[in-house]
Symmetry: D2
Subunit: 342 residues, 4 copies
């Protein structure tokens, strides 16, 4: 950590800061410049309260040298983490396709969708039983009945299932059904929920918050890992910007940045990012070429009659075609992907 | 609602959309332009699933004419809401100052701070017992012990108390102590938590999400109101932008916009917005002149030793001086504010 | 265009708006809803001043139905435009690589770089002779001497040359040397400069502004086209967001959105977007898979000694390797790209 | 400047960086941490090319300690600058109101508006003769005829005049008419134009770019000052964010931040920020209470018939009322403002 003293800081103020740093366990190295003094402080700031320093008289700013995350970063673990979702590996050489409707609407349609996306090459089925909707008047999900339907789909198709949890009180129930638990974008900084899913042994799909920095996202992973659960898959799903021609702005740069900073796998959700099925194919291909470890795509049998997110859903046939088109791109970047057997 | 058909939409597609609208209970008015057809649909879209329409073949976009919120808007209630916090009125002619430390650290310091901010003119005391911290290694609050300390401060000073709840499981406990419950920025779209506090009878301080639009913010209020609790005070606390010279960008325009769209009162948190105590005075004055119904300001006896948010906290003497400086501004906009008796 | 009247609009106000619309040449279709009246107005708003309407008493908002651009859109021209840069086609089946240093620093290094990128497969050479630098104390470019060096490189290698113009007074000089003229991000809304390059017959490389919407970007193209020059290649180079781990956020969604809205070709600049050479390969691959018509990449013989943008520059060998890795991706999306002969 | 070496940097790489720093004239202070080494470099980086360092092997990042601006900052000049616009002082104790229409439309209406805003208390008249419009089909201004009309208004009313220049070729002409030259938001990084107006002796009104950081804005001022013109008034006019309920998000925090970093005066344009006349009064009051040195407000005799920006324009009577309401706020913050004589 570097402490930058203001140009008017007195000798006494500089001494006070150094002394405080020493008290906090740092080794200090003051550098007296022509205009300002800066103090290098050696030690691990992650476990201590640096606000103490930044409020001291004469301090202009603190510059962290170390990243604030530890378990999610590469210091302690260099090799990529491969997360095992009931036998399906995310982060290995195979790119994993996750697909399904935004919300589970009925058993019949969900089972039919499951069959179709499984045939297309998907390995994991998505579906919302608890839906965080921006209006209290919108369909909020089938809740436990939805989880039961997902389990039935798993039994019939062999697909693994991932579903979102939105309340600490539901974590136990959701984890008793699901193979993988999703933390949605709106809950990325619901720290209690992060802690609670960190206490389970299920793999976690951690979506990036709507306006979260990559560092905040990795700190959310750190919360889960600090609670004991290291099976985390990150999911880039678009960030909020001023641009309105897509629902969010898909930040594919996050893929190489995450690969640089962390050992965790990262997948991409082009459906929520674009908010428009027309752009899903192009962005899926882009994501795979950029290095994504998987895709999570909304697929609905009949988008115009979907209870949620119809406009961004692909039909099963289009989804199958997309996986086929992705295959040569996956191969071009040294990966593979399952596609429909023809 | 207006449905814009794409310029290539067929006669059949247009007819299908009209028919679907009629099924959904709308009256339709097609307008056939030179290039595109648009269909006016009369009825209340808030209770229905408009995705159904936007995914239909030939539909380019939907344009909502009505705002999605109902209880939070002015359609049903024109006059401003005045929220009563155990006798303190927010939204009336008096501008209410809320003050206190970010986190409750000890009984002694909290009681002393309470005494000081009460003397300065504050009517409500803030303090965090459950802290949503971005690092799992940071101080997370004293939890119920913190609530007990707050209650003791209320008893000794007469100040009302507001504190944040971060978990549905804690709502009952927090509401048994607090006069007002805070929903923090990170939980503005934690819909389960919104619903849960909506079931209590306590006034709610609803902070704007880090990257929430004003419409989303009012929809969060709608969630609470739809659950039965109409005592909501909105709190603007800065939004995330590209600018880094302040922690967030305080959006004071939100004040007149909220006054235009809603009957709910709105207060401003300049401390979290600026992230730097140096800017708190200027922004507090600006907020009052712009029309804020109150201020919530971080005050700490000894900012350099605060366990959280020290850099943005004012000392009690500075806070008292600020309220004194605000008084003539409050008068200039036809309001009043309590200040230290001198 | 749809005019939404406020819910308190009087009969007289509604009549006045209708009458004004008729005066302006629109056909009107009022729709009287339960709460609000909306007026459909048929006609082309692009040539008229709609502010007239939006300021009239009782008007709540205007909703445009038609896009504001005409020449840049698909209404008048459906088939993709292929721009010819002295024989090199951008927008056809071949993906074109443009490469070179940020700034031209010396004849020797530029010629050597030209030879190397040409061997790697680049078709067009980039290089800045006039540099828009954020500090007045930074190197501002070699100006006409730089243009002369570029022309020499073209003569020796056969590469075509693209370079930026930053002042209306230089357009004639720059166009006398360059095969293609670049409008940089900071000048995307320098409308006089857009008009001036629109008067030349040179192809224009129009970079997206730092915080420009896609619609504003196409309006900038419209300015050039309205002046008579239809040879425009758009270039996505990252937009400004709150995320700081990359210099800008590369918006690859812009590719399918532009393909939906416009007939103009679009290329991608991963170097300026990322601001870090480590991310350039991944993003280049992502761009090609998403559908980009070309890439513009910063290449420098010795990045640590570059006078500008060294951190984001690739060395020639790395650039050659990248084009080789892109080739199978290009083929996977039905395109081709030139690579080093091995 | 602090150079942070990556945790894998070799001894040789660290030595190379130190040696390079020494060559560049820095004194170096390496600090060897447990995991990373950082090198403190003492000297003024503003005049040198730091990219050289950041591209060297083993370098992770550079942390500037000094601000990049020199003339615009407070190092060399502590006391506030008061800019003299033909006798009107901006930055002193009086808050200056600038008013007028977006575009000059006709002599008659402009003279009438001038008379009205002068009576209301305005000291300087604004009006666009060269309009940067986002559509090539919109009214682009009366050009020199507009400047002539402005000069006539000055003669009749005594108001000083400020108008925008958008092309380096027009700087001489505009400065021959105007008392103050405006650089608009879109041209804040048109460095050639900044340099050109820096060569004149006229005061410059420098609007903040649409997505400019405060540091970039001060660097734009630095460009003008480096060319020899130190008479600069900054103008905050809203920045681009994701929020759409106002045209831009007015960043009033910029006022105390600028006062902290710079000696230059700062005024506020609430009209362009809000894009809606309804919010102009509240924001004007907020700006003055926050510490603005002036206001620039769009005033039009007949907003519904304005050729540009009608929706955000006040009528003269409303403007006069506003200045009257601002007066007690100005007094409350120790300033004054001229208002209509009653």
């Amino acid at each position: 950590m570097i402490i930058v003293m203001s140009k008017n800081a007195s000798r006494q103020e500089i001494d006070n800061v150094e002394q405080k740093l020493v008290e906090l366990g740092f080794k200090t190295h003051p550098i007296i410049g022509e205009i300002k003094t800066v103090i290098g402080a050696i030690g691990d700031k992650r476990m201590m309260n640096t606000h103490t320093i930044s409020s001291m008289p004469g301090v202009e700013s603190l510059v962290p040298i170390m990243k604030p995350f530890k378990l999610a970063g590469k210091e302690l673990k260099q090799e990529p983490t491969v997360v095992d979702v009931s036998g399906i590996k995310i982060g290995g050489s195979e790119i994993v396709a996750i697909a399904g409707p935004c919300a589970i609407e009925s058993e019949e349609s969900f089972l039919e969708t499951a069959r179709r996306v499984m045939e297309a090459g998907a390995k994991i089925m998505r579906g919302g039983a608890f839906k965080p909707r921006s209006s209290p008047y919108s369909f909020q999900g089938l809740e436990e009945e939805g989880l039961r339907i997902m389990a039935a789909a798993r039994e019939q198709t062999g697909l693994k299932i991932v579903t979102e949890v939105v309340d600490t009180r539901d974590v136990e129930m959701v984890s008793s059904y699901a193979d993988m638990i999703q933390i949605g974008a709106r809950n990325m900084q619901n720290f209690r929920l992060l802690h609670e899913v960190g206490l389970t042994s299920k793999p976690i799909l951690l979506k990036r918050g709507l306006a979260a920095t990559i560092e905040e996202w990795l700190m959310a992973a750190e919360y889960i890992m600090a609670a004991g659960n290291e099976n985390i898959v990150l999911c880039e799903r678009g960030i909020r910007t001023y641009e309105t021609s897509t629902r969010n702005t898909l930040d594919l740069s996050a893929i190489p940045v995450i690969k640089e900073l962390s050992h965790l796998p990262i997948i991409v959700d082009p459906s929520h990012a674009a908010g428009n099925w027309k752009y899903v194919s192009a962005l899926s291909k882009g994501a795979v070429a950029t290095g994504a470890d998987g895709l999570i795509i909304e697929v609905h049998l009949d988008p115009p009659n979907a209870l949620s997110d119809g406009p961004q859903s692909l039909r099963p046939a289009k989804f199958a075609q997309l996986l086929g088109e992705i295959q040569p791109i996956a191969l071009a970047v040294g990966r593979s992907i399952s596609t429909a057997k023809v």
